[in-house]
C-alpha cells in the first residue's frame, strides 16, 4: 500500500442523476455508423484482391487441367483449328483440334526484357539521381521533382508510339544493322526495319522505369543529413569519395526497394511491349534484336481471337498465362519487400504495372 492519508470513499457514491433510457441508447449507439462505413470501405481493396485472385484462378482451372505440366515445358501457344470440327480431349477437358498451350517462351521473354530494363535503368537512375540530388541548386529541385513525376506518368502507349516511330527505327538502322554484320552470337539474327524486338523493348522499358527509380533515389539522396556530408568534407574526402562513404550507405536499401518497384512495373507492362516486341509466337527469341513476346503482351494480343474459340479453352489458357504472370510479380514483390525489410526499409507504394 503506497498511498497515505487515504480519505474515505464517498459513502453515497450514487451515480449522477441520469436517465436510464438515455444510457441504454448510448450503449447501443456506441459504434459510430461513420466508423462502420469507413471500415467497410477499407475492406474493399482486400475483397477486390481476393476476387481477382479467385477469378483468375477459377478461369484458369480448366486450362490447368487440360495443359498439365506441359504448360511450363512447351514454347508453342496455338489455339488450334477454331473452325474445324475435330476436338482435342485431355483430362476431361475439351479444346479445339490441334490446340497446344505453353507459356515457356512468354516467361522467357518477360524475364529477359525486364532484366535488360533493370540492368540499364538502375545505374542510369542512381547515377543521375545522385548528381541531381547532390549538385543541383535547391531552387531547381522542385521543378526537377515535377519533371520526374511527369516522366513517370507518361502513358505507356506513348512510349510504344515513340518506340515504333523513332527509337526502334533509329536503333535498327544505326546500331543493330552494323552490329549484326559482325555475326556475333545473340547479336545478329532477326533485325527488323523498325527495330521491333527484345533489346528495343528492354530499352524502352528501361526508359519507363528510370523515372520511378530516379525519383525515389533523389528523395533519398536529399534526405541524407547535411552535417554528415560536411563531416566527410572536413576529413578531406573528395566529393565522389563522400558519395561512397556517406551517401551510398544511407540510400542503398532504398535503391533495392526502388529497383523492385521498377522491376514489377517492367514485368507487368503490356501496351508498350505489345507495340514494340514484334509479337513473335511459338519461338524463343533468336537474338537480342529479334521479335519476341511477353506474358502480358500475349494476353492483350490474343484475348480478342481467343474469344472465338467455342470450347473456351483459349481464354482459359490466357487466364493461366495471367496466373503465371501474377505469381511471378507477387514473388518479386514479396522478395523485394523481404530483402528491403531485412535491410531495414520498406518498399514504397507505386503502380507495379
Amino acid at each position: 500500500m503506497t498511498s497515505f492519508h487515504l480519505k474515505a470513499t464517498p459513502a453515497d457514491s450514487a451515480p449522477l442523476p441520469q436517465r436510464q433510457g438515455a444510457r441504454a441508447r448510448r450503449a447501443l449507439s456506441r459504434v459510430d455508423p461513420m466508423r462502420v462505413v469507413l471500415g467497410a470501405l477499407a475492406l474493399i481493396p482486400t475483397l477486390v484482391l481476393a476476387f481477382l485472385v479467385y477469378k483468375i484462378f477459377s478461369e484458369a482451372w480448366p486450362a490447368i487441367r487440360f495443359n498439365g505440366w506441359s504448360f511450363f515445358t512447351t514454347k508453342t501457344f496455338t489455339m488450334g483449328n477454331l473452325y474445324g470440327s475435330a476436338l482435342e480431349h485431355r483430362n476431361g477437358q475439351v479444346a479445339a483440334g490441334g490446340a497446344q498451350y505453353g507459356v515457356l517462351a512468354f516467361v522467357l521473354g518477360t524475364l529477359l526484357s525486364s532484366l535488360i530494363a533493370l540492368l540499364v535503368a538502375v545505374p542510369v537512375a542512381v547515377g543521375g539521381a545522385i548528381l541531381l540530388g547532390e549538385k543541383l541548386p535547391a531552387v531547381l529541385q522542385a521543378p526537377l521533382g515535377v519533371f520526374l513525376e511527369l516522366l513517370a506518368g507518361i502513358p505507356s502507349v506513348v512510349f510504344g508510339l515513340w518506340g515504333v516511330y523513332s527509337f526502334g527505327p533509329w536503333l535498327s538502322r544505326s546500331v543493330y544493322a552494323p552490329i549484326s554484320h559482325l555475326g556475333l552470337p545473340w547479336l545478329s539474327a532477326g533485325v527488323s526495319s523498325n527495330g521491333q524486338g527484345l533489346l528495343t523493348s528492354g530499352l524502352v522499358l528501361a526508359v519507363m522505369i528510370v523515372p520511378i527509380i530516379a525519383s525515389i533515389t533523389r528523395e533519398l539522396v536529399r534526405s541524407v543529413p547535411g552535417n554528415t556530408r560536411e563531416g566527410a568534407a572536413a576529413l578531406g574526402l573528395t566529393s565522389a569519395e563522400s558519395v561512397r562513404v556517406v551517401t551510398l550507405p544511407f540510400i542503398h536499401r532504398g535503391i533495392v526497394a526502388a529497383s523492385v518497384l521498377g522491376l514489377a512495373r517492367a514485368l507487368g507492362e503490356t501496351i508498350a511491349v505489345l507495340i514494340i516486341s514484334g509479337n513473335a509466337l511459338n519461338t524463343y527469341p533468336v537474338s537480342l534484336f529479334a521479335p519476341f513476346s511477353t506474358m502480358a503482351s500475349t494476353i492483350a494480343a490474343m484475348l480478342d481471337s481467343a474469344l472465338t474459340d467455342s470450347t473456351g479453352m483459349a481464354v482459359h489458357s490466357l487466364a493461366e498465362v495471367g496466373l503465371v504472370l501474377v505469381s511471378i510479380t507477387l514473388v518479386v514483390n514479396f522478395a523485394g519487400r523481404y530483402i528491403a525489410r531485412s535491410l531495414g526499409t520498406n518498399v514504397p507504394i507505386g503502380r507495379g504495372a
Binding site: F51, L131, G153, L161, L267
Partner: protein, 281 residues
C-alpha cells in the same frame, strides 16, 4: 590531393552527368516525337471534330468523363479506407488491410483488364461500357489513393487529436473539423496524381470500354466510350499517315492532360506547405 584521386573524382561525376543525360534525353526525344509527328494535324479541328472527322473531341470528352468516374469511385473508396486505416483501424486489421492493398498495387494491369472483361463485360452482360472501364481503372489506382490518404493523415500531429478529444469532441467531429482540414491538400494531390496515372493506363480499358466515333453518352452500361489512349493505340497501327498523325496528336493531348493534372496537384501541395510547417508541433 593526388592526381589519381582527382581523376577518379572527375570520372565519377562525369559518369553521373552522363546518367542524368540518359534520364532526360529519351524523355525529351519522346516529347519531340509526339509533337513533331502530330504537327500536320495540330489545330482547332482537334477540339471541334470527332475522331471520324480528323478531330479528337469525342475522345477528349470521353477521357474526362472516365476520369470523373474514377474520381468519384476510387476517390470515395480510397479516401474512405485511407481514413479508416489512419484513424480507426485496430492494429491487426490495419496491418492486414494495408498489406493486401500493397499486393493489389502490384497486380499487373492486363490481369485487371482480363478479369474486368470476363466478369463485367461478358458475365454481367454490361458489354463494352463506361462502368466496366471506371471500375477497372479505379481498382488500378485505389491502392495509391489509400496510401497517400493514410500518409497525409498521419502527418497531422497527434497533439491536435488529443487536444480535441480533451475538449470532449466526438470522434466524428474530431475527424471532420480538426484532422481532415490540414490533411486535405495532401489527400487531394494524391487523388489528382492517381487520376494522372489513370490517364496513361490503357491495358484495363482496352477490353472494357471499347470505342466509338460518337460523343460519350451518359449511359453506364451497354454504350462504348471513346478515349484518347485508344486513339493512340488503334491509329498507330493503321497504314494511313493521317491516322498516324492523329495518333500522335492524341498522345500530345494526353500528355497535356497529364501536365495539367500534375501541376494542379503540385499547386495544392505548395499552398498547403506553409500551413503545415507552422503546425509542426
Amino acid at each position: 590531393m593526388g592526381i589519381w584521386r582527382r581523376l577518379r573524382n572527375v570520372g565519377f561525376w562525369t559518369l553521373c552527368g552522363l546518367a542524368a543525360l540518359a534520364i532526360a534525353a529519351p524523355a525529351l526525344w519522346v516529347l519531340y516525337t509526339v509533337f513533331h509527328q502530330s504537327l500536320p494535324v495540330i489545330g482547332w479541328r482537334l477540339l471541334t471534330h470527332n475522331t471520324n472527322a480528323g478531330g479528337l473531341k469525342n475522345a477528349i470528352l470521353g477521357t474526362l468523363w472516365l476520369l470523373f468516374g474514377v474520381l468519384v469511385l476510387a476517390g470515395i473508396v480510397g479516401v474512405g479506407s485511407g481514413i479508416y486505416l489512419a484513424e480507426f483501424a485496430p492494429r491487426g486489421i490495419g496491418q492486414v488491410a494495408r498489406f493486401f492493398s500493397d499486393v493489389l498495387a502490384g497486380m499487373p494491369s492486363i490481369v485487371l483488364g482480363y478479369v474486368a472483361y470476363i466478369t463485367l463485360v461478358v458475365q454481367a452482360g454490361w458489354g463494352y461500357s463506361y462502368l466496366a472501364g471506371v471500375i477497372a481503372l479505379s481498382v488500378l489506382v485505389l491502392p495509391y489513393i489509400v496510401k497517400t490518404t493514410e500518409v497525409a493523415l498521419r502527418q497531422v500531429p497527434t497533439a491536435l487529436r488529443e487536444g480535441a478529444a480533451g475538449l470532449g469532441m466526438t470522434e466524428r467531429i474530431i475527424l471532420w473539423k480538426i484532422v481532415l482540414p490540414p490533411a486535405l491538400p495532401g489527400i487531394m494531390s494524391g487523388v489528382i496524381v492517381a487520376l494522372a496515372i489513370s490517364t496513361g493506363e490503357l491495358a484495363p480499358l482496352l477490353f472494357t470500354v471499347g470505342f466509338t466515333d460518337n460523343n460519350p453518352s451518359l449511359a453506364l452500361t451497354h454504350q462504348q466510350v471513346p478515349y484518347l489512349t485508344s486513339v493512340i493505340f488503334t491509329n498507330l497501327q493503321l497504314p494511313d499517315p493521317q491516322a498516324q498523325y492523329l495518333s500522335a496528336a492524341a498522345g500530345a493531348m494526353s500528355l497535356l492532360l497529364l501536365v495539367i493534372l500534375i501541376l494542379i496537384g503540385r499547386l495544392i501541395t505548395a499552398r498547403s506547405v506553409k500551413a503545415t510547417r507552422r503546425m509542426a508541433l
